[in-house]
């Protein structure tokens, strides 16, 4: 029983996970796919003058279009270069307000490969941002994209079509284009109308998304985190890094370069901070660039974001950037099969080291195993004590909790079906449903009158949480670790108790880890980092408002992009939370134990 009564697996798991950041425990990255042959050829891109010229023309052109894409100019340029060029219209019926409709237009040109039929394709995409946009401009990347298209059009070695894509409205544009390209709808029906494409190439093997904010680039940041925490193949990431080094472009991951310390602790701390940076981005499940939406279609993609200010002394111009793109595309052009060799599941503590799934999964398994061992111990104890258990009632209770979760899940859709404004209804309706569900243990007083039943409910909760954590971390390790680290220690001490003080303490702790409270804390930390001079009340109101916005955005994301964070939280984590809440807060009589004692 030593193992069974000692549920400290979660601490071990967390320590394991944290220590993985140290270079002692992880490995340096390497190329697994030999066909890539990175940087083997001599770069011949010389069209940097054209890029500058395009850039100046484009700047003039955008002044004429305050908030829309200058598609006629772009189309004309594509045609001039000799690409099959098309536009693509899409419509968004706002998921939050049925009466709002937005329109958008993408422009794309296809360079047909001279050495193969159009069975495979590569994508070079750039988000177009009008002068009014709140995000930094990406005009230099369109200029370099056009210059690269001009360069590529005259080369004879392309074995895959190259699609040059300029998208409108940030991620909406790319989502609509991808849905139209593959003929599917990922979000809810009738939300994003993806329209049709007039021209098409083959199966897309890889995509590079460019976001250069300046003509002179100080550093390039490689971004990989995609929708629902999906990551591109590690080979593609390595490839981008390798080519950047070759062309002498300073590149970073999460704005950091690897540093070497003599002190192993400092070294670990530096990598650990970097790793946490990636974990926090991945855990949200929201892509941090347009590349993130490609991944769902099995297309490996990443974003190269170029900043003017860099830590390196010198800056690279269009020539080097063009050669980076050339190098990457010529490498991917060599691919004989789709990316399959290297890792798809990894965490990066710096851009030259990785932690593979084989290393981090034991950490998650230890955390989940702590829950399951605890459940097993409880079960064994129940078998010994012969307490009275009402199995069917417990099962029904468990199902009722999940029905509440399902209600929360369909709530926004219901509201939308009733034709009222989702954002305002949800921001009042959802909290009231959740607060109402807190009263369940007090309403169900008559049901839970034995300790055994409550223990059984607790076992169900523990098992569900353990299984959910493992399934979650297969998809999105960061979210799995995040949820595990927060909820498992509290789930392990959750116990039906007669002791009033212990009960209140438990209930308080348990309230702190309600999915909404966690969201509130995360958002407040974020708000604090952004506006830390404000006074307390203003800060709290701002944080509350931001939390509301976060919930509504996650609902919108699930309806438009098929982001499953909201679904998972509402169907699994909220019911599970309620289960434990019930266990903690319910009253019970102890008569069964007494009866057992008398018999003995």
């Amino acid at each position: 029983m030593g193992l069974l009564t000692d549920p400290s697996g979660d601490q071990r798991g967390i320590i394991w996970f944290a220590s993985l950041a140290s270079p002692l425990f992880n490995a340096s990255t390497y190329f697994s796919e030999n066909a890539l042959l990175p940087g083997l050829v001599k770069s011949t891109f010389k069209e940097d003058r054209f890029a500058l010229q395009y850039f100046q023309e484009l700047q003039d052109e955008t002044q004429k279009h305050e908030s829309s894409i200058p598609y006629s100019w772009l189309l004309a340029k594509f045609r001039q270069i000799g690409l099959d060029s098309y536009t693509h219209d899409f419509t968004l019926h706002s998921p939050l307000n049925p009466n709002d409709t937005y329109y958008g237009k993408n422009v794309y040109g296809i360079l047909r490969a001279p050495r193969a039929s159009s069975t495979e394709a590569l994508v070079l995409s750039v988000p177009y941002r009008p002068p009014k946009s709140i995000y930094p401009s990406t005009l230099p990347s369109i200029a370099i994209q056009l210059a690269f298209a001009k360069f590529a059009a005259k080369e004879k070695y392309w074995a895959k079509d190259i699609i040059f894509l300029i998208t409108d409205h940030e991620q909406l544009g790319i989502q609509a284009w991808l849905e139209a390209y593959h003929g599917v709808t990922c979000g809810n029906e009738g939300t994003l109308n993806h329209g049709t494409l007039k021209g098409r190439a083959g199966a897309i093997q890889a995509a590079i998304n460019l976001e250069l904010h300046s003509v002179k680039i100080g550093q390039i940041d490689i971004k990989i985190e995609g929708l629902n925490g999906q990551l591109p193949n590690l080979d593609l990431f390595n490839l981008a890094g390798k080519i950047c080094i070759k062309e002498g472009v300073f590149h970073t991951f999460k704005g950091k370069t690897p540093k070497y310390f003599r002190d192993p602790y400092k070294e670990w701390l530096y990598s650990f901070k970097n790793m946490l940076n990636m974990v926090s981005t991945q855990a949200t499940g929201v892509p941090n660039g347009n590349h993130g939406l490609f991944l769902r279609f099995g297309i490996q993609a990443l974003t190269l974001e170029g900043f003017e200010q860099g830590k390196a002394g010198s800056r690279s111009g269009f020539l080097s950037i063009g050669r980076v793109i050339e190098g990457i595309f010529r490498s991917i052009n060599n691919l004989l099969e789709r990316f399959h060799q290297s890792f798809f599941f990894y965490i990066l503590p710096s851009h030259d080291r990785y932690i593979s799934i084989g290393l981090y999964m034991p950490a998650v398994c230890m955390i989940a195993a702590a829950l399951i061992i605890k459940a097993c111990a409880k079960w064994c104890k129940m078998q010994e004590n012969h307490t009275e258990i009402r199995y069917i009632k417990v099962v029904i209770q468990f199902i009722v909790m999940h029905c509440i979760g399902a209600t929360v899940m369909v709530f926004p859709e219901l509201v939308k079906a009733l034709n009222s404004d989702v954002s305002s209804t949800v921001s009042y309706g959802l909290p009231s449903v959740l607060v109402g569900s807190l009263l369940i243990p007090f309403l169900l007083k008559s049901v839970n009158h034995s300790e055994g039943s409550l223990n059984l409910l607790c076992i169900f909760g523990l098992l569900e949480l353990g299984t959910a954590l493992i399934c979650l971390s297969m998809n999105n390790i960061s979210l799995g670790i995040f949820c595990g680290t927060i909820s498992v220690p509290f789930a392990l001490i959750a116990e039906p108790t007669k002791n009033r003080i212990f009960k209140i303490v438990q209930a308080l702790f348990w309230c702190l880890i309600h999915p909404l409270s966690i969201l509130f804390f995360v958002v407040s930390i974020n708000t604090f980092l952004m506006f830390h001079q404000e006074n307390i009340t203003e800060f709290v109101f701002r944080a509350l408002d931001a939390t509301k916005q976060a919930v509504i955005y996650s609902i919108a994301d699930s309806m438009i992009y098929g982001n499953w964070l909201y679904t998972v939280v509402s169907t699994i984590f909220i019911p599970n939370w309620l289960c434990f809440w019930n266990v903690i807060c319910s009253d019970f009589k102890r008569h069964n134990v007494n009866v057992a004692k008398k018999n003995n």
Binding site: Q230, L231, F344, I372, A375, W379, T467, M474
Partner: protein
């Protein structure tokens, strides 16, 4: 007089309560199934490989009936793996009895549950009567003997576990034809327990003709008639009628000897496993990875493992308990057959309540249920990552199905060992001393 009358009244009211309970459960189960069937989730569930294998996919049946109606032999391609009899049966039943495919699948599932309810009711009664003379058994084990409570609860629990266990539920909702095969399987069990050799042999012949593996269950069936119903004549008749029915069905299938093309597509498919579409069984991964010249050897060894390897030893060990033997064989078929699906496990799991008296002897129940829970949640997740996201690969999915098979093997071993232990204790009592020292039974 009054007491007798009141007793009678009590009894009738008692049975009325049971009827109410059963019908409530049936209605609830039907309702739940129907709600999921008409929702958008039906399509998702039906397309999962855990539910629709090449042998149990309703889509393929529809395709087959369509081809038949156009006078095209569906067995010329390699799409359809159901027998002509099954195909005609589905078509006729759907057209003339149920009209609606949802209703048909629900009805067969409810039929299975009701048949098993009556079968286990009979079995439990007989089983209790066998152990009615408590004085014959050692004191320590008396409280594990089946009593009146056992007899009352078992059939209801069996009914509930057919209706509400998630494996059968998903199979039914996903239109797995194994659900319909299971109806005939439960008819076989009913006939066997009810000592009706005609029904049992007919049902077994149907099952064997459809999915081949149940043919080995003829051995426990004969054993049942010999050992439990104590009638050699009936046993002989069972065997004869089984052979006759099987011949008749084959005659019908082959259009009276004219067309044997179904044999290659049905039995050939089951035995030689040409379709390596992943499923929750153990065949596909092994035969995808293997060099072709070993294929024949391993086909033989895998199929022997699935059929006769355990048949003889288990029959010898459990010759006095043919019911246990039947359940064990059903379990083993479900694990080792070439195209298993969730309904197979769901069906055998519903027999577990009949082993209620063994629960205190089972050691791994909790571990097994955790593994089953984990694997059945992980399988669709990894399938999604493998097929749709293209990020995981076949090894991940196979790992999960392997764990799933291992859990089932643990389960059947645990139950069988507990049964052996229980019988041993009934005979010798719990305090066994070897050379004057306390001993403990353990499986090695």
């Amino acid at each position: 007089m009054i007491t007798k009358k009141s007793q009678k009244l009590l009894k009738s009211s008692h049975s009325l309560i049971i009827v109410c309970k059963v019908s409530f459960l049936l209605i609830l189960a039907a309702l739940l199934r129907y709600i999921i069937m008409v929702s958008k989730y039906q399509n998702i569930i039906a397309n999962h490989v855990e539910i629709s294998t090449p042998l149990s996919s309703w889509k393929r049946v529809l395709e087959g009936t369509f081809l038949f109606s156009k006078n095209i032999n569906p067995y010329e391609g390699d799409l359809l793996h159901e027998t002509p009899l099954a195909l005609h049966f589905y078509k006729t039943v759907l057209q003339f009895v149920f009209k609606n495919v949802n209703v048909m699948f629900i009805a067969f599932d409810l039929g299975t549950s009701v048949l098993l309810y009556f079968a286990t009711k009979k079995y439990a009664k007989k089983f209790r009567e066998e152990h009615a003379e408590i004085e014959k058994f050692p004191k320590e084990v008396r409280d594990t003997l089946p009593n009146q409570d056992y007899e009352n609860k078992v059939p209801l629990y069996v009914l509930m576990s057919v209706l509400f266990n998630p494996f059968s539920f998903l199979g039914c909702v996903g239109y797995s034809t194994v659900g319909i095969h299971n109806f005939f399987m439960s008819m076989f069990i009913f006939g066997m327990v009810d000592s009706n050799f005609l029904i049992s042999s007919l049902a077994l012949a149907i099952c064997s003709s459809v999915s081949l593996y149940p043919v080995i269950l003829i051995l426990p069936l004969i054993t049942y008639f010999v050992k439990v119903h104590k009638s050699y004549l009936q046993a002989l008749l069972t065997l004869l009628s089984f052979i006759t029915f099987l011949t008749l069905i084959t005659c019908y299938n082959s259009n009276f000897g004219k067309d044997f093309s179904f044999v290659r597509n049905v039995y050939g498919c089951i035995l030689t496993v040409p379709d390596l579409q992943p499923n929750i069984g153990l065949f596909w991964y092994f035969f995808t990875e293997m060099f072709d010249h070993f294929r024949e050897l391993f086909i033989y060894s895998f199929q022997i493992n699935a059929t006769i390897l355990y048949l003889i030893p288990l029959t010898i060990t459990f010759r006095n308990r043919p019911f246990v033997l039947t359940v064990a064989l059903l379990f083993l078929i479900g694990i080792f057959k070439s195209y298993p699906c969730l309904s197979d496990l769901g069906f055998v799991l519903s027999f577990l309540p009949t082993f209620m008296y063994l629960f205190s002897y089972c050691q791994q129940g909790f571990v097994i249920s955790v593994i089953l829970l984990m694997t059945s949640c992980l399988a669709p997740v990894l399938w999604h990552l493998w097929i749709y996201s293209a990020s995981a690969n076949a090894n991940f999915y196979f790992g999960v199905t392997l764990a799933y098979a291992i859990a089932q093997i643990f389960l059947v071993t645990d139950v069988l060992f507990a049964h052996t232990k229980w019988e041993f204790y009934l005979k010798h009592g719990k305090d066994i001393k070897i050379d004057g020292e306390d001993t403990k039974l353990s499986l090695e």
